[in-house]
Symmetry: D2
Subunit: 191 residues, 4 copies
Amino acid sequence: MTSIAIVFYSGYGHTAKQAEAVREGAASAAGATATLYQIDKDGNLPDGTFEKLATADAVIYGSPTYMGGPAWQFKKFADASSKPWFTQAWKDKVAAGFTNSASINGDKFSTIEYFFTLSQQHGQIWVGTGLMPSNKKEHGPDDINWTAGFAGALSVSPSDASPEEAPRKGDLETAKLLGKRVAELAAKLKK
Amino acid sequence: MTSIAIVFYSGYGHTAKQAEAVREGAASAAGATATLYQIDKDGNLPDGTFEKLATADAVIYGSPTYMGGPAWQFKKFADASSKPWFTQAWKDKVAAGFTNSASINGDKFSTIEYFFTLSQQHGQIWVGTGLMPSNKKEHGPDDINWTAGFAGALSVSPSDASPEEAPRKGDLETAKLLGKRVAELAAKLKK
Amino acid sequence: MTSIAIVFYSGYGHTAKQAEAVREGAASAAGATATLYQIDKDGNLPDGTFEKLATADAVIYGSPTYMGGPAWQFKKFADASSKPWFTQAWKDKVAAGFTNSASINGDKFSTIEYFFTLSQQHGQIWVGTGLMPSNKKEHGPDDINWTAGFAGALSVSPSDASPEEAPRKGDLETAKLLGKRVAELAAKLKK
Amino acid sequence: MTSIAIVFYSGYGHTAKQAEAVREGAASAAGATATLYQIDKDGNLPDGTFEKLATADAVIYGSPTYMGGPAWQFKKFADASSKPWFTQAWKDKVAAGFTNSASINGDKFSTIEYFFTLSQQHGQIWVGTGLMPSNKKEHGPDDINWTAGFAGALSVSPSDASPEEAPRKGDLETAKLLGKRVAELAAKLKK
């Protein structure tokens, strides 16, 4: 079995929904299990999480984009990962990332760049969406990769939209496809 | 008079339209003149352009986002600017940037980051849009800063939209406001 | 009087030393006062700090680079600044940044990029070091801008160097010059 | 056999030396061949290069850092790669990057970020150095990863050093190790 870990923070539920889509996608790959690890409001994870991450084949990062970067709770997790970094315990694990914010563009790319930078400290192998964008006049939030993330999965949840309303169909489908792609790559590398 | 220079490349005319909006905005500020310098297909500018840039109070950068960054023609200009860099001839001039691409998000932020990085080599003072985003459910391409650029002005021109059709109203208005903001800051610094 | 605020986090004292150099430089400018606001281990600032920042003419950001970005404690401050962001209370204040890490290069630039991104959400005016690099064979850690930061001041504190030993002479002088440059720009803009 | 392609530009010979080290490292992996494709002064590659890249298992990117990013000649190649991008012809190929500049730090990270961004448009799998930094007081340019690149291999060639003198021992060894790592990953993925 290939084991995919998704470590994420969610402030209001939108990123949690995106994380769940990534998980579904990862779990849909042949021979894969996928587990969500949700960082809490204080930036902590349940005891034993780092031990579990050490055995995963992929560690995927997720956070809303707040003030131009990942939420501080996520960064607290990242800083705590200096312990496995010190022994390069995550080396060669697959990495990927996703983020949600209210604006269609904004600074989402900055968050993905950070996830990538973190992954490279860990010696991980980064994989993006591998998707073309939906960028014709006819396209909208129902289309796959309308939000046009390449390095990671992006989603848009308008500032007055509840987690029931957003992220929308296209962004969730994109998140699923990213999860699946990660799991397939992890399986290939495990052989 | 405050003199604002806008150096840009445009592949198909969309970024040129955005550049013109920046120019209009800059020229609308009290006591300001604004001039467009268009980089050609070979990455060159008319003779004497660097001399003119040396006398400007602000140098604004613009390019479409191609393959995740500014067009090579713009980069050729940037590399040629190593000459004024060597004498820090642009030090303390105001800087700003704008970019256009087909997707709503994509890698536009990467292009703006590059413009910023270039400006800092030159010792310039960077100013962004200073705008809040239009990110509610009711918002769309007609609204100011729907594309949600903070560090620079962003615009979306769907891949099948002509320069007559896009960038759209909100993005053009955003570009104008950026131009005006640059000119006002340059005027303040000139006193 | 021009008032310069320096908000920073320091884990082991190296960044605090760099912050103090920035403060000295800022305070050395004509008509300027400069104040350090140190974020604590829990990511908090003393009560009333945000009120004081609201009256400053410049807000400078500082943090060590941990795991490829600013320390989570700094990010907690940045996320808390969504309150002044909402009313654009820091709009047009001058911004700048500095960071320290153990490696000569590493991911310091990523931290400066984040500070810049944050500043642009706030509508601030960014200023870098405005310095040429010291990059000849004869140069070393005693020289100004050997570490070669343009967008912000960078410093190197080897992993086994105490805060008494590092940051070293050149990096501290660079930090001072950045502080002075910020204060001079803030004074110009205040007139 | 695993086939590794290294596409690079070199202005004065320093980056060419780094590229050769990457090639040596890649060729040293079991069952691997590695080929250098040098972009010329006009930003062009020999006819037939894109056909060869299409058959490679990995495409590695290299360029000096000029004015805060890759040389325009490299960007011209990147823009020309919109053709294989359109059909996602490089999807799932391994990607990596390296850069050289005169300063120990400077904006090298910006160039690596660009290479990464480009690779993600192409749907490639990114791998970094996977190396710990040499960042103690005793370390210097003879040590592996003194320049401390994680996302890519970095090298320092002082502005008055000839290509015979720099990049120095540690940076070249780092480049070799990156090449080897890429080839080993490509071999794993090919199975």
